[in-house]
Each structure stands twice: as structure tokens, then as C-alpha cells.
């Protein structure tokens, strides 16, 4: 039965994982995601699951790898420096085509950084991070409710595509409390995993999970196979939300916590008659390029807002393809943008766009 409760983001995500049938969790403490680990330690045993605090993030991700090969639903979580250590294992999990859910509640970096929230791991999440030609499905919640909903989705999609799914949250989402509707538990939702290494039993043939392809022809075939899988994701799994974009001339592009701030900023400038809107990617891979391209073709200008010095903005520019200007505004190091400042940037952009449109064609400006 679904129920509505007030919960902290990290704990809600953990509970959602348990309700999605996750029975194994391997992790190592790091702020700001410790509540997730602690919640699993308390509650997994209650449902017959296993929590294990590993000796390191490297240990944790490889335990996840082993359990995933055994065919169970398994998760780990961490933050920046810990995710860096997990990258080796993530590459192996992707290269071995086994499903796992990985949570990154981002904190500031590079290096040891700080524990305040950022979005500075976007590149790492979406452009590999580990070695090799692979992609993760990357889900970016913007509320505690979405942390719950996207966690259920993450397990489903990981199994469906036999690919690791990363939930990319940040310290704000992890720490804040919001009312959430928790779904009814669905632990018995079993997915057939005939590939799992569970012992050969009565089968003729033993099963092998490996990412080793010594022959170049074979290795290329494998990479092509992965590419086809990622293309299927791009076709079927791209998720985004449009907010007041129907008639928008100025479109903010932001995900997660930054998107919430942008929503407030859009409302502020709408009061002044500026036709602003927001496109919020929910999947960062696959990236929602199509709606951005469409809006650009319709003549909109863009402002990408991130809690970083500018990472997703590169994907926005790729999607827009030079058709229209794309401006950037970001704060980093744990500083959170003020919606009023974002509103001012939207206003500025609207003004520039207006000027450009009234100017002579050869005087067109760019942001």
C-alpha cells in the first residue's frame, strides 16, 4: 500500500530501494549520503536483506559487481571522492553487462573538496568517469518524491538494459525533508536472469561473465553491441520536464536542485511579462537533446544554470547546435544560486534577444 510520509531525501531513497526489491547494499561512509547507508544498515536485515560496510569504495563496488553477477538487486551509494574510487568497478559492471544501481549524492570537488552540495560530477557521471567506451543511464531527481520514483525506475531499467544506472543527486536533495508518497513494496518482482552466475546446476554449459575481449574484431563487435544498447536508451528512455515553455522565448535549462531554483526564477520574470520557461532534463544520459533543438528552432534563447562552473552547458550547446545563443550561470564550491539572480540573468537575456530582433540583421548579437 502506498503511504505519504515526511522523510529526508537520503532515507527516502533508501526506503524506495528496499521497496523496489533491493536486498543487498555495500557501501562506505562519506558525507552527505551517510543517512542512506545507515538506513540500509537498520532496515535491510528486517526484510532478510544484507547490508555490509566495506573497507573502501573499491571494495564496495566490487561486492556490488559480485552480487549483481549472482542476479540479485543490489545498490551502493557514495559522494564525489568515493564515486571516483568506484569508477573502476563501474566500468567493469558496464563492460560485464550486469545491472546495478549506484547513487551519487554530490558534494564539492575536486580533491577532498567540501561537503556542501554541488553538481560538479556531471562530466564524471555522463561522460564515462571510468575507462572505456560505455555509458551509464543517469537519472537526476529534483525532489525527495523524485528520489523515490526514480529509484524504482533505476532498478527496473538496470535489469532491463543490463547496465548500471546512476542516480545523480546532490547534498540539498539528500539532506532536505519533504512529504513523499512511498510506493507499495514490490520485492517479489523478479526478473528472469538466465545469464547470472549462480552455479551451472544441471546445465550443460557453464556461464561466464567477463569484460575481456582480446581479439580486436571481437572487442569491436562488443562495443558496437553496447552502442546499440545506448541508442535504444536514447530512443526510449529520454525523460525531461517542460515548465511554462509553450510560448517561451527564453528557456532556462537546469537539472536537480538548480532546476527548482530556476522554476522560482521563471515565475518571477513571468510576473514582469517576460516569456520564460524551463526545460529540466530528468535523464542526463540519455540527454534530452530533441526538446532543446525544437525550442531552438522555434527561436528561443537559453540560459543553462548549474551548481558548477559549467558542465551540462556543453550538452545544451551541442543540442542547440549553434542555432541560438546559450548563456551560462553557475555557482560552485557549495554556493547555491539565488533565484533572484537567476531571474536577473533571464531578464538580461530577454532584453538582449529583444534588441537583437529589433536591430538590423547584420547587427544581431549573441549572449
Amino acid at each position: 500500500m502506498a503511504e505519504k510520509v515526511l522523510m529526508k531525501g537520503n532515507e527516502a531513497l533508501a526506503e524506495a530501494a528496499i521497496r523496489a526489491g533491493c536486498r543487498f547494499f555495500f557501501g562506505y561512509p562519506i558525507t552527505p549520503q551517510n543517512e542512506l547507508l545507515e538506513y540500509m544498515a537498520r532496515h535491510l536485515p528486517e526484510v532478510g536483506g544484507t547490508f555490509l560496510q566495506s573497507e573502501s569504495e573499491i571494495g564496495a563496488i566490487n561486492m556490488v559487481f559480485g552480487a549483481a553477477c549472482a542476479g540479485v538487486r543490489v545498490m551502493t551509494s557514495s559522494s564525489g571522492p568515493g564515486i571516483s574510487l568506484k569508477q573502476e568497478g563501474i566500468s567493469y559492471i558496464a563492460g560485464s553487462e550486469v545491472p546495478a544501481v549506484i547513487v551519487n549524492i554530490m558534494r564539492t570537488g575536486p580533491g577532498l573538496g567540501g561537503i556542501a552540495p554541488t553538481q560538479s560530477d556531471y562530466f564524471q557521471a555522463t561522460k564515462g568517469g571510468g575507462h572505456g567506451d560505455y555509458r551509464l543511464m543517469v537519472l537526476a531527481p529534483a525532489s525527495v518524491q523524485e528520489m523515490v520514483d526514480l529509484t524504482a525506475l533505476a532498478f527496473e531499467k538496470a535489469d532491463e538494459y543490463r547496465n548500471p544506472v546512476l542516480i545523480l543527486g546532490d547534498g540539498v536533495l539528500g539532506q532536505m525533508m519533504e512529504p513523499v508518497v512511498l510506493p507499495a513494496p514490490s520485492p517479489e518482482k523478479t526478473v528472469e536472469k538466465p545469464w547470472a552466475t549462480t552455479g551451472k546446476g544441471d546445465n550443460e554449459k557453464a556461464k561466464l561473465i567477463t569484460s575481456l575481449y582480446i581479439q580486436p574484431e571481437e572487442a569491436e563487435r562488443f562495443c558496437d553491441h553496447l552502442r546499440a544498447k545506448y541508442s535504444a536508451m536514447e530512443e526510449r528512455e529520454t525523460r525531461f520536464e517542460c515548465y511554462r515553455t509553450d510560448d517561451a522565448e527564453i528557456i532556462a535549462v537546469a537539472y536537480g536542485t538548480a532546476a527548482r531554483l530556476c522554476m522560482a526564477a521563471v515565475d518571477m520574470v513571468r510576473e514582469k511579462g517576460i516569456r520564460a520557461g524551463l526545460i529540466r532534463p530528468i535523464t542526463l544520459f540519455p540527454f534530452p537533446s530533441a526538446p532543446l533543438r525544437k525550442a531552438a528552432e522555434g527561436g528561443a534563447w537559453f540560459l543553462t544554470v548549474e551548481l558548477s562552473t559549467g558542465q551540462m552547458v556543453e550538452d545544451v550547446r551541442l543540442a542547440v547546435g549553434g542555432r541560438q545563443p546559450v548563456a551560462f550561470y553557475g555557482r560552485s564550491g557549495g554556493m547555491v544560486p539565488d533565484p533572484r539572480v537567476i531571474a536577473a540573468r533571464l531578464e538580461e537575456l530577454a532584453e538582449k534577444k529583444g534588441n537583437a530582433e529589433t536591430a538590423q540583421p547584420n547587427e544581431g548579437g549573441a549572449a
Binding site: N62, G66, A67, V74, T197, T198, G199
Partner: protein, 249 residues
């Protein structure tokens, strides 16, 4: 009519080996296969393959297999065993794999007393990458990265893994064996079988170090390699049962 006294173990595939002449990996594979057969474990065994010359162990031993990142096999095995406690899970790792990059994973898996079996093949060198120093390389032994011979001052002293693990509370079975003579092969076989038996009976972490030759990277003939092993490795890595739980035959 003759009686058959010797044959290939059922779970050892009838395929050509990729190991160098005189390499001990092949012998050790066979002993693992024999133990699995005798205890009738094949249907419920999952092996974890390492990075190193023996990564292709999955081509030889006919059980389910997972290929792990360099040094991480004990963590991968932990994940499998926690998910499938009634299965038999073993890793097979070289000294570069287990005693260098994978020290953290082996120590903590042993410290937890994880009910898995680790076969540790110590040839005192990195085989696959062409003969660089390992943590187990002997003092004075020359390698491609210690051309003048390993020097304690510059490179540290070789790690005695069994002795180190034997300081931990939780391991159930720790033994060091060798395969350089037929008699030692018989002894090694017994240890490997005991290690699997230990897991089968739920006694906890079992560990067998097998001293092994790498004639190619030692730059010796197979026979000289065996002699070198006996002369130089045995004094520093004594053959010994460090720990045997009660009731394991």
C-alpha cells in the same frame, strides 16, 4: 584388462593450454579441478578469475565464472557469496593481483571470515606483464623493474602473505604448499581439497598459497626454475599449515 588409474577431471575442459612450458598454473588448475570433482561441487561453484596470466582460468575449469578487476576478486567473491550463501565461491589470484593492488581486498575478506576459498599463486613475479617486481619478489632477485636485484632499502622486503593473514582472528584455514615435485603436488592437492571442504562445511575463510614457477620471466628452463624455487623460495616461504579448523580432514 587394464584399470583406469588416472584421467582428466570432469570439470577440467579438454582444451589446449595457453601457459608457457613449465608454468605451474596448469598443474594448480588441475588440482583445483580435482578437488571440485571429488567434493562434487561443480554444479554449484562460481569461480572468480583474476587479472594476470591465469585470467583465462575460465577457459579451463568448467564452472560458472566471473572475471574481476585487478586485485578485487575477494570483494567480488564476497558479493557473490553474500547473495548466494549456499554456493561454493573461490578466487584464483597471482601475487601481483593479491599481494599488491589487492592487499586491501584480501585482508578485509579474510578479516570478515568470509566463507570463500582463495587460491593464491605465488611465483614471485608479475608474469603477464613481462616480469616486473611483485611484492613477493625475493631480496636479490632481479626483475625488469629491479634489474640489479630487489633491495630491501629501495624496494622493501617481500611480503609473506600467509604469515600476515595468520595474525587475523577470523580465517579458518591457511596453508602454504608448493607444486615443484610430485610429493609436493600431492600435499598441495590435499590442502586445496581441504580448503574447499572448509567452505562446504561453513567454517569460513580458507586460503591456500601455492608456490609456483614462472620459467619464462625468471629466465630459466622449467627444471632450473623448480630448483630455484626449492633453493630460494622455500626458505623464505616455508611450506606449512598455519591454521586448520577442527574436523577438516
Amino acid at each position: 584388462m587394464g584399470t583406469k588409474v588416472f584421467s582428466r577431471p570432469d570439470c577440467l575442459r579438454d582444451v589446449a593450454s595457453h601457459y608457457c612450458p613449465g608454468c605451474h598454473h596448469g598443474i594448480i588448475h588441475r588440482l583445483v579441478a580435482e578437488a571440485i570433482d571429488e567434493l562434487e561441487l561443480a554444479p554449484r561453484t562460481i569461480g572468480v578469475a583474476p587479472v594476470g596470466c591465469s585470467v583465462f582460468i575460465y577457459d579451463y575449469i568448467d564452472t560458472d565464472f566471473i572475471q574481476a578487476p585487478h586485485g578485487r576478486a575477494p570483494a567480488v567473491a564476497t558479493g557473490v557469496k553474500r547473495a548466494l550463501p549456499d554456493r561454493i565461491v573461490f578466487t584464483y589470484q597471482g601475487d601481483g593481483d593479491l599481494a599488491a593492488i589487492g592487499t586491501s581486498e584480501i585482508i578485509h575478506t579474510a578479516a570478515r571470515g568470509e566463507n570463500v576459498t582463495v587460491i593464491f599463486v605465488n611465483n614471485a613475479i608479475y608474469g603477464m606483464t613481462g616480469g616486473q617486481s611483485a611484492p613477493t619478489t625475493l631480496l636479490g632477485q632481479s626483475t625488469t623493474t629491479a634489474p640489479q636485484g630487489r633491495d630491501a632499502g629501495a624496494d622493501g622486503a617481500p611480503i609473506q602473505v600467509c604469515e600476515m593473514l595468520n595474525t587475523l582472528q577470523r580465517p579458518a584455514f591457511i596453508s602454504r604448499v608448493s607444486v615443484h615435485t610430485p610429493a609436493q603436488v600431492v600435499r598441495a592437492k590435499k590442502a586445496i581439497r581441504r580448503a574447499f571442504q572448509c567452505q562446504q562445511e561453513g567454517k569460513g575463510f580458507s586460503f591456500v598459497e601455492v608456490l609456483s614457477a614462472c620459467p619464462t620471466n625468471w629466465g630459466m628452463t622449467p627444471l632450473d626454475a623448480n630448483k630455484w624455487l626449492e633453493q630460494y623460495m622455500l626458505p623464505y616461504y616455508p611450506i606449512k599449515d598455519f591454521r586448520i579448523p577442527e574436523g577438516v580432514q
